[in-house]
Subunit: 452 residues, 2 copies
């Protein structure tokens, strides 16, 4: 039996899958202009995004061609392997078959370059010389630094100052790939200067860094902004994962009963899941979809499905999605990539229509699962991805209990080699578990704007 | 044209290649007992190695079967990809074709598990319950922690105290894989206690850590010792790299004119090179072999080919090899894996018989090459492997000068994601270049024992 299913290079998908036209009727609501309450148009976004990406944001084409130059760069690390977790199955003594798609093989160590590369490409095609973006822990910043370097563009990364100081390795990585990395708040933008005037010692926040990057893009003609999750076009690019996985599952002679992933903004899970969701939505395939999130930021399991802002400073359009309130600030869990107050509208709509479920886990639960995975499958997973591993182990044990030979597929969205200090905290027993922050959620939810 | 050549799983090599029987006649000299000056026998090694590995150390079989259990574990990350560096070729504007074999895909991030896995396997077969080994920067210790975990064995890693303190992430990695990691010198061994008595604040050294691990193994019946480079059986296991590369080059429709790798103890380069050296030694193929080492530890370019000890404390048999003297301590360069005073006897003999050349580079030279590679090929290479990249770039530029379409193949033995602080030093211009330490080498060479 094959452990690893590798797609031959000539079988690599040449199109991304757009789930929008297959969504349940009426399930998607348009983004609204917060001033007028009216649906936004392309012109509302053209100051910071190229028209090609705005077009992908609203397209009704079921498939979108992947530009050849993007395909060539994908080939540096794609196709990512589909791996049968035989050693984990054995350790769990489960009749379930467990497969995972491993996105940690990308040079940035996660699925993020699947979208940073096409985003850089379309911006370069539009004559853009530089991308401005923000990064917290550094995953997205590295992916964008890599992508712009590949297309000979410049990149400015506004990195939250506390991360800039605490995660020098991620910063070095971006600099190796030629990006300029600034500790945000900076004195380069009005937003940054305003914050520094109030508090010269500010350690920054993702919200501030976003504001700085957007301002940089909006105030320079040849500079655009770029986002690493949530938006439709970002999820579209990530479907390369699922399109490959469909072909690989076929090569392996199997098909998933359950498809699992972790969710922060939703892009890695959408990337794997949507190609299988297509079979459910259009062919009635009986597949269970399960998204795993942290109890410290329980967007889907405890949030509301409603219109809210995508950022703390209320500068984005209003989007219909699961949200804990735009000024909800989650506890400092190690799965930094899952600390987002809201969820991709496409994922939210699928949950809202009963096509997808969610579950939440504490830090100690997910690290226990991560260690079990590392000790059987050898790869040390990212704390984010370990949420998916925990859900997978639970489902595999359920299958054992029921004596069912279920086939489980999950997305191992990244490796944990930059997260060893968090493993250290877990192994030394000093990792804090955060329960649902009920009171905090109630407060931030009260500030969600009332629309419609 | 294919960027990446992936070997189908059913084509994976099932045998390692043993170069010993193909070596030029009389080029290999037996290891000697330093007390008697006579060749050592199996019994001299049986306290710390299983007979199966001692057998591989001296076998004259050209091919050795890879045990099925080892093949199964190899499959977790093998075959490693063969990648055509088209973007680097373009950046260099060279007619040369550049291929590299990427060993950084292993869970430990380097080629080291290719031998730690079979070593753990053979020891378990021999009834050994625990492996004791040393590690400096942590690469070898992680590879052995991973391997023992895969076979349900215990692992004790004596980690040089200064690294234990400075590289907590590598330590956590070993602990994730279930190893016990001790800061050496420890109070568990006579060797450790002796050092601590003299200097309670000792930061340790690789020599001390080796002594502790060997003592641990020699004084416990169910514990053995394990070494990550230099010895014949270690190089044998690494030939999985070259055996795959032979098949992949054939799939790519090409064959190398030049084969390049970095050398510390010699195992990664031997792993790639020996399968092609076979074609040179037995079929007269015209291939250039070039090994790259640091100027700070110029074992082959400036050392002597003579009998010397493998360790500082003179506890090993005497081996015929290139050496800078067994008590030579190189400057603290970032390519920690290349800081060894001697060279594998097999590599040394190939250099000595004119079948292989060597070249030495400074730190700033190799980091400049590493950055150029990362910015074109996207992977951030380990400082060790960057010596091979520098040699490759030089050869590709020579080919450009001469207008020759040479085919170059090199081993990218590991990634640099645990070495970002050294990139930081390079980018900030604070990296020191070490010239050949002429005086120091003269001193340590004077202490090489006079044999025969």
């Amino acid at each position: 039996m094959a452990i690893k299913t590798i797609l031959p290079e000539d079988k690599l998908p040449t199109q991304w899958y757009n789930i929008a036209p297959d969504m349940p009727e009426g399930s998607l609501k348009p983004p609204l202009n917060p001033g007028t309450g009216e649906p936004i148009g392309p012109e509302d976004l053209s100051a910071i995004f190229p028209m090609s990406l705005i077009g992908q944001e609203v397209t009704t084409d079921r498939f979108v061609d992947i530009p050849e130059e993007v395909q060539e760069i994908y080939k540096l690390w794609r196709p990512s392997p589909l791996i049968r977790a035989t050693r984990l199955e054995k350790a769990l003594d489960t009749p379930a078959k467990i497969y995972y798609k491993y996105e940690g093989v990308s040079p940035a160590g996660s699925h993020k370059p699947n979208t940073s590369v096409p985003q850089a490409f379309y911006n370069r095609e539009a004559g853009i010389k530089r991308i401005a973006t923000e990064t917290g822990a550094g995953q997205w910043g590295s992916a964008m630094a890599l992508a712009t370097e590949m297309f000979g563009m410049e990149c400015t990364v506004y990195m939250v100052k506390v991360s800039y100081q605490q995660k020098p390795y991620r910063r070095s990585m971006m600099e190796v790939w030629g990006a300029e990395v600034l500790a945000s708040p900076t004195d380069r933008t009005n937003s940054g200067r305003k914050i520094l005037e109030e508090d010269p010692e500010s350690l920054g926040s993702l919200g501030i860094a976003i504001s700085e990057a957007v301002e940089d893009a909006a105030t320079h003609d040849d500079v655009n902004y770029s986002l690493g999750s949530v938006l439709n076009h970002v999820l579209l690019h990530q479907t390369i994962i699922g399109e490959e996985a469909q072909l690989q599952m076929e090569m392996a002679g199997d098909y998933p009963d359950i498809v699992i992933g972790c969710i922060g903004g939703g892009s890695n899970y959408a990337g794997l899941a949507f190609s299988f969701m297509r079979d459910k939505l259009t062919n009635g395939k009986d597949i269970e979809f399960l998204a795993a999130e942290p109890t410290a930021c329980p967007t889907v399991t405890k949030g509301q499905f409603t219109y809210d802002f995508g950022d703390t400073l209320q500068s984005t359009p209003l989007m219909m999605m699961h949200t804990l309130g735009h000024d909800f600030v989650p506890a400092g869990i190690h799965a930094g990539g899952l600390r987002y107050h809201a969820m991709a509208p496409l994922i939210s709509a699928l949950v809202n229509t009963g096509n997808m479920d969610a579950v939440a886990y504490t830090q100690n639960e997910i690290f226990e699962a991560a260690i079990q995975f590392a000790r059987s499958e050898s790869i040390i997973p990212a704390p984010e991805s370990s949420h998916a591993i925990k859900a997978t182990i639970d489902k595999a044990l359920e299958a054992k209990e029921a004596g069912e030979e279920k086939t489980i597929l999950f997305n191992l969205s990244g490796h944990g080699y930059f997260d060893m200090s968090s493993y250290d905290s877990y192994l030394s027993g000093s990792l804090e578990d955060y329960a649902y922050p009920e009171e905090k959620i109630k407060e931030s939810m009260a500030k969600i704007p009332k629309m419609g």
